[in-house]
């Protein structure tokens, strides 16, 4: 385990560094100059030059990279070129939208998908097996923004039950309003996510059901459900954990489109705006935090998998 842990940690750190370099290089390939976003129609060439000097976009690329990397190590993500506000605190201010959205959607999706997926596998012979399967097929084919659009139309505009978008100015100081604002976005993300999870849970459960040890257990007199609970669950869980870790990470970033449908002030909105304004510090900051989250969640997912099923370690060692 220690050897695995060391190797996996090294990979994690290397990944983080490579991601930082890749981000920086990719961003500098963007055409245009962020100085432009600041200038109105009517600006003179002198005003444009002054803006470039002020933003540091007239310095050489390696110089810009070193400055940036040094700042990152001191946890300083720089300031927005446009608003002049520091990026770090702004990311922190937006996490109370994105993290609850991601986690609530993730929990909701798991609560729905695990029992439903398992049911579809265990009772594949009943009528609801194929029905669940069909719904899951539909779910993975629907674009999230369209689901959001339909939910807004139905529950906000026609029925008036829930807000159509936005987030209360007081944020979580007004918990009822904040939670209300997140209901439809959470359901949107959860629906799309649950659909793909159901398929994984179902096929993973099917594999276990057909496995030899379960047949053995039943032939030894255990009831079907006893056998399932004692032996099946743990084995079915292993591949599902890997998928869950990946899904959680994807949701965290994939909320981009959903946040823009619901006008939520989360990380997604910050990123989209940063891209359209070529606001390097903002894009870098959000992408770096997001990528780090994805990589760390993947790391934890791998560890969990090996804790649940230590046989994986032996297989790798051999």
């Amino acid at each position: 385990m220690t050897r695995y842990l060391l190797r996996r940690t090294a990979i994690l750190l290397g990944s983080l560094f490579l991601a930082a370099v890749a981000l920086f290089v990719l961003l500098r390939l963007l055409p245009g100059d962020p100085a432009n976003a600041l200038l109105p129609v009517g600006a003179t060439p002198e005003q444009i030059e002054a803006a470039r000097r002020e933003l540091g976009t007239d310095a050489s690329l390696p110089a810009q990279f070193l400055t940036w990397l040094g700042d990152v190590f001191t946890l300083d993500l720089g300031s927005s070129l446009i608003s002049h506000l520091p990026v770090g605190p702004e990311i922190a201010a937006r996490l109370p939208v994105t993290i609850p959205l991601t986690l609530a959607a993730f929990i909701l999706a798991v609560l729905v998908a695990v029992p439903v997926g398992a049911l579809a596998a265990i009772r594949a012979d009943r009528w609801y097996g194929p029905v669940i399967n069909a719904i899951a097929q539909l779910g993975i084919a629907v674009p999230a923004f369209w689901v959001g659009l339909l939910l807004i139309t139905t529950f906000a505009l026609r029925l008036g039950w829930l807000p159509a978008g936005g987030f209360p100015p007081d944020g979580w100081d007004d918990p009822a309003a904040a939670a209300e604002a997140l209901v439809l976005p959470v359901v949107t993300v959860a629906l799309v996510m649950a659909a793909s999870l159901i398929r994984y849970v179902r096929s993973s459960t099917l594999d276990v059901l057909n496995a030899d040890y379960l047949r053995t257990a039943r032939s030894l007199g255990a009831s079907r459900s006893q056998a399932m609970w004692r032996h099946g669950l743990r084995n079915a869980a292993v591949p599902v954990i890997a998928v869950l870790a990946m899904e959680l990470a994807t949701t965290f970033l994939g909320a981009v489109v959903v946040e823009s449908v619901f006008a939520l002030p989360g990380l997604g909105g910050m990123l989209v705006k940063g891209i359209s304004q070529h606001d390097y510090p903002v894009i870098q900051g959000v992408m770096l935090v997001s990528t780090a989250t994805v990589l760390v969640v993947g790391f934890l997912g791998d560890l969990c998998q090996r804790l649940v099923d230590p046989r994986l370690l032996h297989r790798e060692a051999s």
Binding site: V41, I82, P100, W161, P175, A179, E180, S260, V272
Partner: protein, 498 residues
């Protein structure tokens, strides 16, 4: 019932997420002067300084609300004294002596002095200023402050728009720190909190020198698209929207007693701007042909339904020198073909139209493509971001034709500047525009600018497709809000809710 379901869902969610602090649910108080007004807008400021690229949104939120100028442009388009109590102009028009209102305090408590006015103007004319108005103040020779309440401007030449131009200049406390992230003005509101990507709040300033605001404060809610903005109004998340971006939701508001739809004056024009220096649009006949081949009325209807106005030139009806020129180069497809043939393009030609990626430009480009196809002209639509537009079109002039919205009033004067991005260079127009600025009377100025306007309209310097409507939709409970939004300003201090 529905309230119950919403609450249950919200509770369930709140339980799942986190057990946060005290549940202050009483956000909906009754009417009265303690009311906070919720305003919806799509123009979030980039930063809080209008000399550092704050954009249209910073004018909307702060101009007249947090910051005041010596003069103000009222919602009706009149220039009135504000922080200037009194102003005298010398007979030669070169010296302006302005006396300040007494007992004016900044939100920080500092008293307003003539030195603040001088520094505020020097901020705009400074080398690193990003203000579009910078060049307007090159006419100033000297600013003197003989005492704390008097400012004397000496000009290099007569400038009839000087007082009007001063209405754009915020008087700020330059000692307050970085004004891109903080604010210290003399207006009826002080800056509350700005949550980027979400809201900006203003609270009533109790030490205000003039008539205090009629509400306790306002919150601007920012949305990234028009649909989300309308949805917010439909679900009562905001009380008023500062400007509708599409006509499609208006039917629901117009037919509903709970809402008031106001059709105000606008100064925003959609332009098909030609590069007047480059082939083929360096030929007047080609520009006229293209202008005549596009059915502006049909375009306006496509984008705005029954709203909006056709214009025949750069001048909107709210400018003093407006004339109805819609008959000049009006839609006439046969004449357009004849003009093209006469200009040496009997079979048309192909050009690239640089189109900003945000609404309504792509729709307009699609329409223009289909219209021009009828006279044999092929349009290649090249979609670009706002940033690319600035680099490629505005700075490098590397374009044949482009679409762009021009927001400000009184901006016909750009056609007198041959160095502007569209490169329109007619010495006669330049001379008329310059003479108009040095005019002795407003009448003389108006006469000269009308002449300039007639020339650019006839030569189709650009194709002015239409004037946007300025539609403010508000809850019927609201009164006292501005409806014209000239130059994107939105005075909030008179709004009441009952």
């Amino acid at each position: 019932m529905k309230r119950l379901i919403a609450s249950l869902a919200a509770l369930a969610l709140a339980g799942t997420l986190a057990a946060c602090g005290g549940g202050d649910d009483d956000s909906t108080t009754g009417g009265g002067p303690a009311e906070t007004i919720q305003i919806g807008s799509v123009y979030e400021p980039q930063n809080l300084d209008n000399t550092a690229g704050g954009g249209q949104g910073v004018t909307e939120a702060l101009n007249g609300n947090v910051y005041e100028g010596l003069f103000k442009l009222t919602d009706a388009g009149e220039v009135e004294p504000l922080l200037a109590k009194d102003d005298k102009v010398s007979d030669d028009g070169l010296t302006y002596t302005i006396t300040l209102q007494p007992d004016v305090k900044f939100h920080s408590g500092k008293a307003l002095t003539s030195a603040d006015v001088k520094e505020s103007i020097e901020r705009v004319t400074a080398a690193n200023s990003k203000s579009a108005r910078k060049s307007y103040f090159e006419v100033i020779k000297e600013i003197a402050t003989p005492d704390d309440s008097t400012v004397v401007f000496t000009l290099k030449s007569r400038s009839i728009s000087f007082v009007y131009n001063l209405s754009y200049i915020w008087v700020v406390n330059t000692a307050a720190g970085d004004l891109t992230t903080t604010a210290d003005g003399t207006g009826p509101y002080r800056l509350g909190e700005w949550k980027r990507g979400s809201t900006l709040s203003l609270t009533r300033f109790d030490g205000y020198w003039g008539t205090p605001a009629t509400n306790a404060g306002v919150v601007f809610h920012y949305f990234t698209d028009a649909t989300a903005l309308n949805n917010a109004l439909l679900t009562n998340a905001v009380d008023v929207v500062t400007g509708e971006q599409s006509p499609d939701a208006l039917a629901q508001f117009a037919g509903n007693d709970a809402y008031q739809v106001n059709n105000g004056q606008s100064t925003t024009k959609l332009l098909l701007a030609f590069n007047d220096k480059a082939a083929p649009f360096d030929k007047v006949a080609v520009r006229q042909a293209v202008s005549q081949a596009i059915d502006d009325k049909k375009l306006l209807t496509s984008i705005w339904g029954e709203y909006g106005t056709l214009i025949g030139s750069m001048v909107p009806p709210s400018d003093p020198w407006y004339e109805d020129l819609t008959a000049v180069n009006a839609y006439n497809i046969e004449n357009a073909k004849a003009l093209l043939a006469g200009a040496g393009f009997p079979n048309g030609f192909t050009f690239t139209l640089d189109t900003p990626s945000y609404d309504p430009h792509p729709t307009a480009a699609t329409f223009i493509k289909s219209e021009l196809a009828k006279v044999g002209i092929t349009v290649n639509i090249n979609t670009i971001t706002a940033d690319e537009w600035y680099t490629k079109v505005y700075q490098k002039r590397d374009f044949t034709a482009t679409l762009q919205e021009h927001v400000n009033d009184r901006d016909v004067v750009w056609y007198g500047n041959p160095d502007f991005y569209w490169g329109y260079d007619n010495p006669k127009v330049t001379d008329l525009v310059n003479s108009a600025e040095r005019a002795k009377t407003a009448d003389e100025q108006t006469t000269l600018l009308k002449q300039a306007n007639a020339i650019i309209a006839d030569e189709a310097a650009s194709d002015w497709l239409y004037l946007y409507p300025q539609i403010v939709v508000a809850s019927s409970k609201l009164s006292g809000y501005p409806v014209n939004g000239l130059n994107a300003q939105f005075f909030a201090y008179g709004i009441t809710k009952n």
